[in-house]
């Protein structure tokens, strides 16, 4: 690799259409050019963190849009129409990357301009990344379609966006917005940014020129919004387009991407659990996604994780819901684990099947490869901290961060408490509880660090809320798993990582044939196993049913799922009448 030139910023002025534009460049100019366009009321400085990361690999160009930062401020609403903005953009491109296509990235109004640019001069761009700034023409068409077909859902979505757009109406009122900006609303804005979005002020953002930027930038709304929404044009682009959707955006509704692939056939979509100023709150993720999109669009080589991410983001007909996802399942050699691995594989996920028994894990991987992408098998004892660490390290290194982890491995144990030895307890807690702890700890940390969300599923049991004299150790371990899941869910919520606890109930798997019935001689043990197996077989609820529920829990981010009817009833009684539960617990059902 060649030496990276210092990421120092080189500033210069470029003459736009009647204005001087402040242009900033970083990185080696011989490398592919990335143009970052800021929104309102920001300046180029909103991109500082992202630009610094990208400058290591790209020639990064930014400029202050007319009216903002160090660029000049034309007066009059007309000077902010798209034709002026596009002329400015062309001038910057001619000055910084005259003879090649550039990779365009826009946030907020920068993205709105980006759509205009990608649709009107597609030959100048090799890729486009849009963040929190819709194509206005698309929004207009979408709104009209929604009003023509006023189903409750369409109405709800239209209303949602209408409420989010309060500032747009406000900006149409004459003088008042400018007056407020100049009267010192900037401090309020800065504070709201920190409180609402978790974006702390730093040098350059919010800019020292915020009051002037805010006042002048109102021109963008007045010159373009009503015009485009009233008379939308039929805008389409052939540029490979990636739309990054922050799901907690207070200003742009995530639903605005509906039907977008008709306008941009080469469309990718990525969601992130973040607010509107995602380029400030998650610069690392944004820079990585921009880099991956550029590499994908130009046919470069990607890491396995990178190419999976692109597949995950791609919007196309017939795409399977977990296409491009990496799913790790422990205890995947049989029963619920195997069924879960297959259910995810069938939906397009790349599966890592881990089990204590390698041949059975291999078999699961082989079957998963039949219905989905090629899968991987690992031998791992979930109760062994060292082995789990090695396993997680290998997966993270070879395949990348998983999107879903199913901590499913578990063993059964039944019999009176007084017959359980300390070793019995250790065994059941090591596998059922520590296995889940290790899996959640190791993969959860990697998910949080990656910052792109994810999901952890822990297989608990209906025994978690069903006390019973016959299952003291097992039920205790599963109750701990349930509580662990709930605590973890609260903690990881902020990272966009969901946690679900699955409580299956009586499911016909081989757990009954491998369970330990304490305090019994070998042949009685066998007989008990046989009896339990028969009872479970008669109940006849297959692991496939549980697997479907696990997939659904991930998709809908459900906290606790009781699967079988008896598990549901038990959960209900445990809430309505714990006394009845205690009574039932005395039954010896072994």
């Amino acid at each position: 690799m060649t030496t990276v030139p210092s990421p120092a910023r080189r500033a210069r002025k470029v003459r736009g259409d009647g204005v001087d534009l402040a242009v900033y460049e970083q990185g080696d100019p011989r490398r592919p050019t990335v143009l970052l366009m800021h929104g309102y009321p920001d300046t180029h400085a909103v991109w500082d963190e992202v630009a610094a990361e990208l400058a290591e690999r790209y020639h990064v160009v930014r400029y202050d849009v007319r009216g903002a930062g160090a660029s000049s401020r034309p007066s009059g609403r007309r000077r902010y129409t798209f034709s002026y903005l596009m002329a400015d953009l062309r001038a910057v491109l001619d000055a910084t990357a005259p003879d090649r296509k550039v990779h365009l990235v826009g946030h907020d109004w920068g993205s709105i301009q980006g759509w205009e640019a990608a649709c009107t001069m597609p030959d100048r761009f090799a890729s486009f990344t849009s963040i929190s700034g819709p194509c206005l023409d698309h929004v207009a068409h979408l709104t009209r379609r929604g009003l023509r077909r006023p189903t409750p859902r369409d109405l709800k979505r239209s209303l949602g966006q209408a409420l989010r757009s309060w500032y747009i109406y406000f900006f149409q009122t004459p003088l008042l917005p400018e007056t407020l900006w100049r009267a010192g609303i900037t401090r309020l804005f800065t504070r709201a940014l920190e409180a609402g979005e978790g974006v702390a002020p730093r040098a350059g953002h919010p800019a020292r020129t915020l009051a002037r930027d805010g006042a002048a930038g109102v021109g963008l709304y007045r010159a373009n919004m009503t015009q485009r929404l009233r008379r939308p044009l039929d805008r389409r682009t052939s540029v490979p387009t990636q739309v990054i959707v922050p799901t907690r955006d207070l200003f742009v509704s995530p639903h605005l991407v509906a039907g977008l692939n008709a306008r941009a056939p080469r469309l990718s979509l990525r969601t992130i659990d973040a607010g509107h100023w995602v380029v400030r709150s998650h610069p690392g993720v944004i820079a990585r996604w921009i880099g991956e999109h550029i590499t994908g669009a130009t046919g470069g080589t990607l890491t396995p994780a990178g190419s999976r991410a692109l597949r995950r983001a791609r919007v196309e007909a017939g795409r399977r819901p977990f296409e491009g996802s990496l799913v790790v399942v422990t205890g995947a050699g049989s029963g619920i684990g195997r069924a879960t691995a297959l259910a995810f594989a069938e939906r397009g996920a790349e599966v890592v099947a881990a089990d204590l028994d390698l041949p059975s894990a291999r078999r699961t991987a082989e079957l998963a490869g039949l219905v989905g992408p090629d899968a991987h098998a690992f031998e791992v004892d979930v109760s062994d901290a060292g082995a789990m660490e090695h396993f997680a390290k290998t997966v993270l290194h070879d395949l990348g961060v998983p999107d879903v982890v199913v901590n499913n491995a578990g063993i059964g144990m039944a019999g009176p408490f007084l017959e359980h030895t300390a070793e019995d307890w250790r065994r059941v807690l090591d596998v059922n509880l520590w296995g889940v702890i290790h899996g959640s700890r190791l993969f959860g940390a990697a998910m949080a660090e990656r910052g792109e969300g994810g999901h952890i599923v822990n297989t608990a049991s209906a025994a978690a809320f069903t006390p019973s004299r016959t299952l003291p150790a097992y039920a205790t371990s599963k109750a701990a798993v349930l509580m662990l899941s709930e605590c973890l869910r609260a903690e990881l919520k902020g990272h966009g990582i969901g946690v679900s606890a699955i409580c299956p109930g009586i499911v016909n798997t081989n757990i009954t044939r491998t369970s330990r019935f304490v305090g019994l001689a070998a042949e009685d043990q066998e007989q008990r196993r046989h009896r339990a197996s028969r009872a479970y077989a008669l109940r006849n609820f297959g692991p496939e049913g549980v697997a479907e529920q696990i997939v659904a829990a991930v998709r809908r981010d459900r906290a606790v799922v009781a699967v079988t009817p008896e598990a549901k009833v038990s959960r209900l009684i445990s809430r309505l009448s714990p006394g009845l539960m205690r009574l039932l617990a005395r039954l010896d059902i072994g």
Binding site: L342, S360, R363, L370, V371
Partner: protein, 285 residues
Amino acid sequence: MALARTDDAAELERFREMQRLCYRCAAEVAATLEPGVTEREACRRMRRWLLSNGVDDWLHTPFAWFGDRSAFTGFRTPAAFLPSGRRLEEGMPYILDMAPVRDGYSADIGYGGVLGENRVWERLDTDLAEYRTLILELVRRRRPFAEIYAEVDALIERQGYRNRHRKYPGRVIGHQVGIIGGILPRRVGFPFGVRFLQTLGRELVKERLEGRSPLWNGARRSQHPPTPGLWAVEPHIGFRGVGVKFEEILVVTEDDAYWLDDDLPHVHRWAARADEAAPNEKANA
């Protein structure tokens, strides 16, 4: 008495002929299956072919199951087994199942195939070979039928498939066949042959007296060592909407057992596949 004499070579030859006839019918009808053909049409072709080859009665009328029906997906009532209007498409698995009688000699076969290519089917069909070896070996060791059934179940679970023969009436993996006769007319009563039902009913009673059953499943009635006679064995496995089975006659004698015929399409197919895989394995090693 058994339904057939396993020590009479001439008689066994008649059964072998009958089984070959069935497999010839299956292969010829399978070759005519094209996209768009329905299960009913396929059954009609089998029935015509067999009738024109001297068949005069049925254990049951021919069955055909296409697509996910080959794995009995969504089968809740016995009527679901009957041929439907499901049309065959490219890449779809199918199963043809027939049990004709000619001059009293019967056979019962299952023939699995796929129209075009289907990776899942290839895998299942390859794995199905193991059941033929396993069942024969366990019968030779004279393990009780119910235990063999459980061993088959365990293999299905290891392989990650689902037991589909449990959907058959009586959850059977096999049943006795033999010479079908009787005074009742040669008619078919939805979809079993009347004379077959008569024979089966008689055998159920007779065998019951000896603590055995002409039906082979995993229940207590099958908790007995293999009964000498001819057994149509039909392991049927399924995975994600793809089902495969084979069905052929196993000859059980007092102290041994063997497949009536090894010159069968699925046996040849498995052997060819094993030959194909073997050089690759060597290359990998």
